[in-house]
């Protein structure tokens, strides 16, 4: 059973009005358990919209989404996935460990169990000494690590991430990417990851889904043949650059089509 199945999904905003937007048109995608899939594309291609459809934060205009064999709504109710955004979304009035405990509180776990899991997660992201700190005392990168710890806290089988490293500087970004890969490999989590960055998409993913805007659709799905054990050295590997080029060309193809096709009517 696939982890995520997107079945002929379309999403239209402001249907029938003058500012109608065809955010997504006839999207077909299947993600296998344990796979790491990135969504990449220029602004307006619908990658964040697609992620939110999988998360059941918005509903498709047509088509359906299945997560772990259930409807997206059921998956959300059952808390089958964890989510991370570009803003860490930490509650500034809670300590780091209480932030990590948030989803567990909502699931009704008792205090001792929550505290133990929070400590486990802190160790996973290597922030053990910062449990009692307040979020604003931490750097941006550290805050994102807490957000990731929180996303993993309930040990979800699926992780949905919307440009979580977008606000970080390049060095921290690369470091976080390595950490994320390590955690995912250790836990076997399926990941759907939205990003603007080609190297990031290639470094992290098994497959890179290239999308284009107006209307939002998938133009290409590129297999990244870098294998499972990726390290910092992988970034200097020839195959790494080859895959980057493949993705870049696919994206450039979209650009050309845009320029040649002129401005389309919505």
């Amino acid at each position: 059973m696939s982890a995520v199945v997107v079945n002929h999904v379309s999403k239209v905003f402001n249907e029938g009005r003058t500012n109608q937007v065809d955010a997504l048109v006839d999207i077909e995608l299947a993600v296998e358990p344990g796979e790491f899939v990135s969504l990449i594309g220029p602004s307006g291609c619908g990658k964040s919209t697609l992620l939110r459809l999988v998360a059941d934060l918005i509903h498709p205009t047509s088509g359906d989404v299945l997560v772990n064999g259930k409807s997206a709504a059921q998956a959300r109710a059952d808390q089958d996935y964890g989510m991370a955004f570009q803003q860490s979304g930490l509650f500034e009035w809670r300590t780091v460990e209480r932030n990590i405990e948030l989803p567990l509180e909502l699931k009704g776990w008792d205090k001792a169990k929550r505290r133990a899991r929070a400590e486990e997660m802190l160790a996973l992201v290597k922030l053990t000494e910062f449990g009692r700190h307040m979020p604003w005392q931490l750097s941006g990168g550290m805050q994102q690590r807490v957000a990731i710890a929180r996303a993993f806290a309930a040990h979800p089988r699926l992780l949905l991430m919307d440009e979580p490293f977008g606000a970080l500087d390049e060095m921290t970004r690369e470091h976080m990417q390595s950490e994320l890969l390590q955690i995912c490999e250790a836990t076997g989590t399926t990941v759907v990851f939205v990003t603007h960055s080609i190297p990031e998409a290639v470094y992290l993913s098994d497959r890179v889904v290239v999308m284009s805007p107006r209307p939002g659709r998938i133009v290409d799905v590129i297999d990244v043949g870098l294998g499972d054990d990726r390290t910092d050295d992988t970034r200097e590997d020839d195959r790494f650059f080859a895959s980057i080029t493949e993705v870049r060309e696919a994206l450039r193809g979209i650009e050309q089509a845009e320029i040649l096709g002129g401005v389309e009517d919505r």
Binding site: A55, M83, F85, F91, E92, W93, T95, L102, L106
Partner: protein
């Protein structure tokens, strides 16, 4: 510290004007000037000295004790009024956050009520005391005053709380939605804590309004025992005893500061773990 210096400066300006101003008042460029006689504008040191003297000739306690008593009376009513106004105000704000029709229907009225002198209703509200029977319990006058004070403080609290409840960052709201959290859980864990920084200025304003509400109710309805009536009656006795009224003014000032101080302590306690930002006053 600076506050003390500022006060001293005000006292200096007062005395300077007394020294150079016209004794019977008058006007300069059409603007009226106050009289500078000791009866109209007593010396600041006389004001302070008066605090140590008894309220009425032949009395035993210095006036500042009597004034403290009046201030305490008013303070209790204002505090109760503020608490009642806060409870109802916060409750209404939650209701308005939950039901958008409630918000759209009520908020314009709430905002508008802040522009009109609701205090005009003070005499009417207080007149209900002694006449209304709730399950056999007659509303005592002092409670009617609390109701009015609550009524006045309630409006800014509703506005501030509502704004605060809606100020939760969209990313955090989406996060709670992704946790399939109920509306109530989202309220308790996210919206309410996020609202606190916005509620504090509203509570400060509510405190001020509550105090004014109680003082004005006292005056307009002849309730005795509070600082409002003291200010009025001392003021009317000014021809014989010019510095008396200042004792009551100081008492009113102290009471306002104490209530305000309570709200500030609440603010400090509630926000103790949060980052220290630039004070966001309205």
């Amino acid at each position: 510290m600076l506050f003390v210096i500022a006060l001293a400066l005000v006292a200096c300006v007062w005395e300077m004007y007394k020294a150079i101003g016209p004794a019977e008042g008058g006007s300069i460029l059409g603007l009226p000037l106050p009289k500078t006689t000791d009866r109209a504008m007593p010396h600041t040191w006389d004001m302070v000295r008066r605090l140590g003297e008894p309220e009425n000739r032949g009395g035993s306690d210095p006036i500042w004790i009597s004034v403290a008593g009046y201030a305490w009376y008013t303070f209790r009513l204002a505090l109760l009024g503020l608490v009642m106004g806060a409870v109802v105000g916060i409750g209404l704000a939650v209701l308005m956050a939950r039901f958008s029709f409630a918000e759209r229907g009520l908020l314009p009225w709430v905002i508008m009520s802040q522009t009109v002198p609701l205090i005009a209703l003070a005499p009417q509200v207080v007149s209900w005391s002694g006449k209304v029977d709730i399950f056999g319990w007659e509303i005592p006058r002092w409670f009617a005053v609390c109701i009015l004070a609550a009524f006045l403080s309630f409006f800014p609290i509703v506005v501030g709380t509502l704004r605060g409840l809606k100020s939760a960052p969209p990313a955090a709201v989406e996060l709670m939605h992704s946790y399939a959290a109920s509306w109530w859980e989202t309220l308790v864990k996210l919206r309410f804590p996020a609202a606190l920084p916005h509620m504090v200025p509203a509570l400060k304003l509510g405190a001020t309004l509550s105090v004014i509400g109680v003082i004005v109710s006292e005056i307009s309805t002849g309730i005795s025992g509070g600082i409002g009536r003291a200010v009025l009656s001392y003021g009317q006795a000014a021809t014989g005893d010019p510095t008396k009224v200042y004792a009551a003014v100081f008492g009113a000032a102290a009471l306002g500061l104490v209530l305000f101080g309570l709200v500030v302590s609440f603010d400090v306690f509630v926000m103790r773990n949060r980052p220290h930002e630039e004070a966001g006053n309205s």
